[in-house]
Symmetry: C2
Subunit: 132 residues, 2 copies
């Protein structure tokens, strides 16, 4: 809670910084967590709606992911004691800042994933036809 003068120090991530980042990414950097945060970035959604929008996530992983995000204070869980029950999930302000921090990386991904895909194809080609 001290240095807020971050001001993009243009340069290197120290080893400690990397540890911190790696640590956070280990928690929120996995595929499903990213999808959930992204999906919720448009506003609160019900359990089933998240499941539907993501498509392909198992209930197990959705539940685990939401629970972890709730514990970490990134989403809120609101239970409406109706019948049938209804549960809304929504990004907290912390969650919103996370989403914001994700944006540059998302743009990098969008801009470069094709380049990377091509690089992989080239590498695969070299693989199957080595230098004569």
């Amino acid at each position: 809670m001290s240095e807020t003068n971050i001001s993009v120090p243009d340069s290197s991530l120290s080893a400690t910084d990397c540890k911190g980042l790696a640590d956070i990414l280990a928690t929120i950097g996995d595929k499903w967590t990213i999808m959930v945060v992204g999906t919720l970035s448009k506003g609160p959604l019900r359990y089933n709606e998240i499941e539907r929008r993501i498509g392909g996530i198992s209930q197990r992983m959705l539940t685990l992911t939401l629970k972890r995000l709730e514990i970490d204070g990134i989403v809120t869980r609101t239970l409406f004691p109706t019948v049938p029950p209804r549960v809304d999930y929504e990004l907290t302000s912390l969650g919103q800042t996370l989403r914001g921090a994700l944006v540059p990386l998302q743009m990098w991904a969008a801009q470069n994933k094709e380049t990377i895909a091509i690089n992989r194809i080239h590498a695969a080609a070299k693989e199957s036809s080595p230098a004569p």
Copy 2:
């Protein structure tokens, strides 16, 4: 090397965007990859030097990580045919842009990891003393 005017488009990651991001993170979002990119952000380093600086990475993972990064065009591998052999690894310009895209997330991690840690402790406390 062009748009630094990211200007945080305030709004939502589409499902497609999330897929792209999740996809990239699946490749470069793991602990060791982050550490390697971070370590190389200060300049080119030899294999052993990377290993030493990261500390705790197995040769297997270092080799695999470097190979993937090389294939993806994020680092270059330069072999000096001396004896004993010497190999330098260095971030490409693509790698540098990746590092740049990682910075906001790194800052977010630095600013919020303590909050998250506290949230987890609170959650654990609730866990062991349920409502009477």
